[in-house]
Subunit: 352 residues, 2 copies
């Protein structure tokens, strides 16, 4: 299996995030995650690593607002220069706003700190000097995987080609105009939108957390079916979106589906939801699918409350593969670093 990976992620290494209660903790979405995945995949006989191509900004600006991408681009320079407005920030090692956009028609102000509070939605999408470049490299991995599955000659005897984008930072919490939950550019959305120029695409998000950014980006569209299976936002991040009755709007009505599941969800319960999702995809009839593959569904993930086992992860991979569609698998979350390599390796082995 082709695996698109860039070392560019290492320049995104925030010194901390802030948890509920206002306490700094080490950044959970860290480069060590990639090292664990790389070590596991390098032990296999089927992982073929490749550098991503550079697709430029156009496919990114097709799903994100230009003002938001410009903010990411200039954020670090502005943060260091922001004076006197940012006098309060005596520690400039990481960009985090302290004020967030109010409900009821917030306006984008001119100041950097104001824009930071407008474009950043939580205390986990921390921006440092290398964040934007790392996010671009990550999006290019996703686009390279999309291009790969789009250009392979189908082999009638075998399963259609799949490819894996080993993306870091992840993407599915990033909306049209905001970063959130470790995510800055929505890699899976960028890939799915790119693939949609060739026909209907389905995007299946199996990360533990609701794919709020993906929902935000495709909510009005019928040409990309988006489905997210996740922890119920009534108890879990991202809290405000991802409920079962959110099914799209306008032309996109009926083309988004959320499967919120309770804490403690085990293999059987998870697979039952997956089967419903896969049936929706089969009915939709896409020519290809994008999978937002978060491994934080795994029992014991520090940010998760599901009880999905490694056997369950293998079964999820096999059932998705049985769709027999060209598939771009995009790395999302998963924070049980010591299990992450084996988990994603097991998932991909079932998909190949």
């Amino acid at each position: 299996m082709k695996i698109f990976y860039s070392e560019g992620h290492r320049q995104h290494n925030p010194p901390f995030e802030v948890f509920d209660g206002g306490e700094r903790v080490p950044y959970l979405e860290n480069p060590d995650r990639m090292d664990k995945v790389l070590a596991a995949l390098r032990k296999t006989d089927w992982a073929e690593f490749a550098e991503p191509s550079d697709f430029g900004l156009d496919p990114i600006l097709a799903v994100h607002d230009a003002d938001y991408i410009n903010f990411l681009d200039s954020a670090w320079t502005e943060w260091l220069a922001a004076a006197p407005e940012a006098e309060s920030a005596s520690d400039k090692s990481a960009i985090l706003p302290a004020t967030f956009a109010l409900r009821r028609k917030p306006r984008v102000p001119k100041s950097f700190l104001g824009r930071a509070g407008y474009y950043m939605m939580d205390l986990s999408a921390v921006i440092v000097e290398g964040t934007y470049k790392a996010a671009l490299a990550s999006a290019n991995c996703a686009l390279s995987a999309a291009q790969f599955i789009a250009t392979q000659v189908p082999s009638t005897a075998n399963r259609p080609q799949s490819a894996f984008a080993l993306c870091r930072p992840p993407g599915h919490h990033a909306g049209k105009d905001y970063c959130a939950g470790y995510c800055f550019i929505n890699n899976a959305a960028v890939a799915a939108n790119w693939l949609s120029s060739k026909g209907k695409v389905a995007l299946l998000d199996i990360d533990y957390h609701a794919g709020n950014g993906t929902q935000d980006i495709f909510y009005d569209r019928a040409d990309v079916l988006t489905i997210s299976i996740h922890a119920d936002p009534d108890f879990e991040y991202p809290h405000f979106i991802g409920f079962a009755d959110e099914t799209g709007a306008g032309a996109g009505l009926g083309f988004h589906h959320n499967f919120p599941l309770p804490a403690g969800t085990d293999d059987a319960a998870y697979l039952a939801a997956l089967d419903k999702a896969l049936e929706l995809i089969m009915v939709y009839g896409p020519w290809s699918i994008v999978v937002s593959a978060g491994m934080d569904i795994y029992d014991g993930d520090p940010l998760g409350k599901f009880k999905v086992t490694r056997d369950g992860i293998r079964e999820i991979g096999e059932r998705i593969a049985n769709l027999r569609l060209p598939t771009a698998v995009i790395m999302e979350g998963g924070y049980a670093n010591n299990a992450l390599g084996k988990n994603i390796g097991t998932f991909l082995e079932a998909m190949k």
Copy 2:
């Protein structure tokens, strides 16, 4: 002058707030502010201290959503009990959410942390065990001042009666359903709404920061004219609201006015804006006014960038007093503690 004050504020004493950059700093809106004001006012021969009456919840629920007030009421108990959802918050000394309500139709989730992110808008409106009771006592001070000016027999020879509510926590950043910027219950809005049952009221906000909460609460109403003179949100907190072209909506169109001013605004520039505001009030013809009196316009305030002097503050008080209307003055911000007593004393002396 009657001064309504409650010691109840002391139970609201958060151990820290979080500034831009994710750094904990000592809570600037602290009980010492009141001690400085008390010391200054006790030296005068005109300050008559009185305990506030208890007005119950009805006048508060007339301007705030019940769900939000219920959240404030139960927040501390829920925060301590929140498990396992709040496992991440190893330090439970103060309530601060890490995720804020997303744009585009956020829903109120069931979990405590989700509701905290929905009802709390920044990292300065920190909730501790005594916050709700302190906020109720503060609102009762404002209501007592309102009641006092409403029930005094007018004296033809003298200026109409004014009263001062020495409120802490302050209120003008608290909106219908959110706390923000050290504010939980919008004391001035509660008082103005209470007074509006007796006829048209004007609310003049002279705090350095835009009175976003007051704007939010009265934006659709014509029976309370709201005017805020403040630092331009294009460079200053609350960033997303308080621009000059926000003038009300629906029945309230034309009954809200913002005067955003640049950094460095001095006495002359401030008084020019004030004169325009006072003219709007005279044209409106209210029977009474409420003044949100923040002293952070003072040159040297740690959270302000205006250059208003103590003479300027006296002049502001005199010009407002020249309206010759019953006036309830409500304490808002002001963080240059060592100057705060003299500043508010000077302002009130000019008003009496």
